[in-house]
Amino acid sequence: MNFFRFINGSIKIILRGNKTYYAWLIFLSLLIIWGGFGYLGQLREGLIKSHMRDSVSWAFYIGNFTFLVGVAAAAVMLVIPAYVYNWKPIKEIVIFGELLAVCAVIMCISFIVVDIGNPLRFWHMLPIVGTMNFPSSMLSWDFFVLIAYLFINLFVVTYLLYCIFYKKEYNRKVVLPFVLFSIPMAVAIHTVTAFLYNALPARIFWNSALLAPRFLASAFCSGPAILLILFQILRKTTKFEIKDEAIWRIAELMVYAMFIYLFFTVAELFKEFYSGTEHILYWKYLLFGIGENKEIVVYSWSSIIMGFIAFVLFLIPKTRKNFLTLNIGAVLIYASVYVEKGIALIIPGFTPDVLGQIYVYTPSMTEIRTAAMIFSIGFLLFTFLSKIAIAIVFDDYNIDSLNRDARRERVTNDK
């Protein structure tokens, strides 16, 4: 009974909002419809609607997947500084960080589903009913840690929100181990995803021990960028309180991450270009193109330039502490990592292919539309969940208010 009233109340909350909020919802819904029809085409005719072919057999979808694993991981890792520096709203940071993580993991799994040729056979991957290739295949590991991560985060947020909703004191002994466990799990999902690529001796571009560290560093740039902006919105529109110092501190931590990323990348580039073996080909294709084939160069350089501007903006204290430049930097670094993970990481792994042939890949319209659909669904989900969480945490949406509403309704009915 309470549960249905909760659902009912939550739907009301979701539907409440100002014009901007509605515009945002309509925008997302339009994208979902537009993308959905693109995806329908792929379902009907197969992955031939993508621009992937035998030479480049993984591309934009798996790149998006990788990017979102980073977002999911970083959202939770933000709990560490919140704890170390003793920021006030640590509980809120945990709640919103984990909500973001949940949505990101759901998007990750969706990207895998759209990428496989036979989504209906997904159950073959499960243990017992299927024949999961565990522990041999990194993909089954990845699947396993992602699902575990999803459930841990889901449990922690629902439990916290449940307690606040019922005005109960939450049991630290229950929550803390899970929060603590979710942090190494966050590292794990990203490391295992890096190993997915790393473990392939056939793909020289990925076969570098620096791949996993670079993954983590770049995730630490993009993940907090979303939360940085979210915190500012929350601060403006709700009772959520976070000091300027905390936001700047996040930005500062992002600079460290960017620096580490830069350093790792330079180390990699030095090794490749100075030794000048045939392995250099892949980096060459990424940065300069090979012969006539330069289609991917705009992606790599736009990512580099955006990342570099963001780095400078975050590095200089004056621009870091100015919210306009800070937000520009956050958007730029997010975009930079997105392009890096979406295209620049995956495509050179396949070009030239294992037999030295070059197939030029850029995403097809179907791939872009499908990705837009998944992102919009993810954002929509995140918007709704945040909205409910905000109501519970800041706006007195709880069991008492539900009871009050019910009573009021009865009174009006009686009249």
Binding site: N118, R121, S136, A199
Partner: protein, 296 residues
């Protein structure tokens, strides 16, 4: 065996509810059976026989021809090996097309299990400077040699290691096969294979009915569906019956040799003994059973 049965009944039970709903919405019972079909390797002899019978009936209905689908297991005491004479190959690509025909590869979208690379004599085996799209009036072209590549039937196959669902495996006679009904189409194996030997059905495969080869093997040349991976199987439907692979038979210059590595008097053994052989990308430790040599 008991375990399999309980697995199957469990599966049937949990899915029956869902699928009766699906069935009502126009999905027929066959599709459900196919959906619930288990990994070929976990089936008993009886289940396999039934599966094969059903398949033959299904193909007959679909193509209007008699089909002979075999599920013949590996013959004991065989380990197949292949050797290709680089000094003889002229790059005519007859093997490519014979393979397409024998193994019912999709014509449009086009799938070729064999890729012939044209290389510059001066550079040796150098993939980065090779060309698959070569198209002169007459082969061989001056200054070039040809290197056909197909599945190297690795003893240590990366594709098998990475497959998340065990849809691809190495048979006792050394042939790496795919269960097309079990493959989920994740293409991890394609990323892992160092020889570009695995091919994906990006769209619905398309083979003209009059050209279909009706002598089939379940793990070999039977028709594939959209969204699954396929690859060279050393013509499992032929070689387990004691015949040569189609590419060996068609080669006009006799560059292709095939045989049982465990048979001391086989031709393949003779080559390993008397010619110096190489394998591709030996540094990756895939240990192919596909050798290249220089006969003259």
């Amino acid at each position: 065996m008991k375990k399999e049965n309980s697995r199957r009944s469990f599966l049937k039970n949990i899915s029956l509810a869902t699928f009766s709903a699906l069935a009502l919405s126009g999905c027929d019972m066959k599709a459900i059976d196919e959906f619930l079909q288990l990994n070929f390797r976990t089936l008993s002899k009886k289940e396999k026989d039934k599966l094969i019978k059903d398949l033959e009936a299904k193909y007959k209905g679909k193509y209007g021809k008699e089909f002979n689908v075999s599920a013949k297991p590996a013959i004991e005491g065989t380990l197949f090996g292949y050797a290709l004479d680089l000094s003889r190959c002229i790059g005519c690509r007859r093997c490519v097309y014979a393979c397409v025909k024998e193994n019912n590869q999709s014509r449009e979208p086009q799938i070729h299990w064999i890729q012939v690379l044209q290389m510059e004599k001066e550079k040796g085996i150098d993939f980065a400077h090779s060309d698959v799209q070569y198209n002169p009036e007459k082969v061989p072209e001056k200054g070039h040699f040809y290197l056909p590549v197909q599945c190297q039937q690795c003893r240590n196959p990366q594709c098998v290691t990475v497959c998340p669902v065990k849809a691809t495996w190495q048979e006792p006679d050394g042939i790496v096969v795919v269960d097309y009904n079990w493959c989920i189409g994740c293409r991890y194996c394609m990323a892992a294979c160092p020889y570009g030997a695995r091919h994906f059905n990006w769209g619905e495969p398309n083979v003209p009915v009059e050209e279909i080869n009706t002598e089939m093997h379940y793990l070999g040349n039977r028709p594939r569906m959209k969204g699954v991976v396929e690859k060279c199987t050393f013509c499992v439907q032929r070689t387990r019956e004691g015949k040569y692979p189609a590419c060996v038979e068609i080669c006009p210059v006799g560059a292709r040799k095939f045989g049982n590595l465990l048979d001391p008097v086989s031709e393949i053994r003779y080559i390993l003994e008397n010619k110096r052989v190489i394998v591709l990308k030996q540094e990756l430790n895939t240990q192919p059973k596909f050798y290249y040599f220089f006969g003259i």
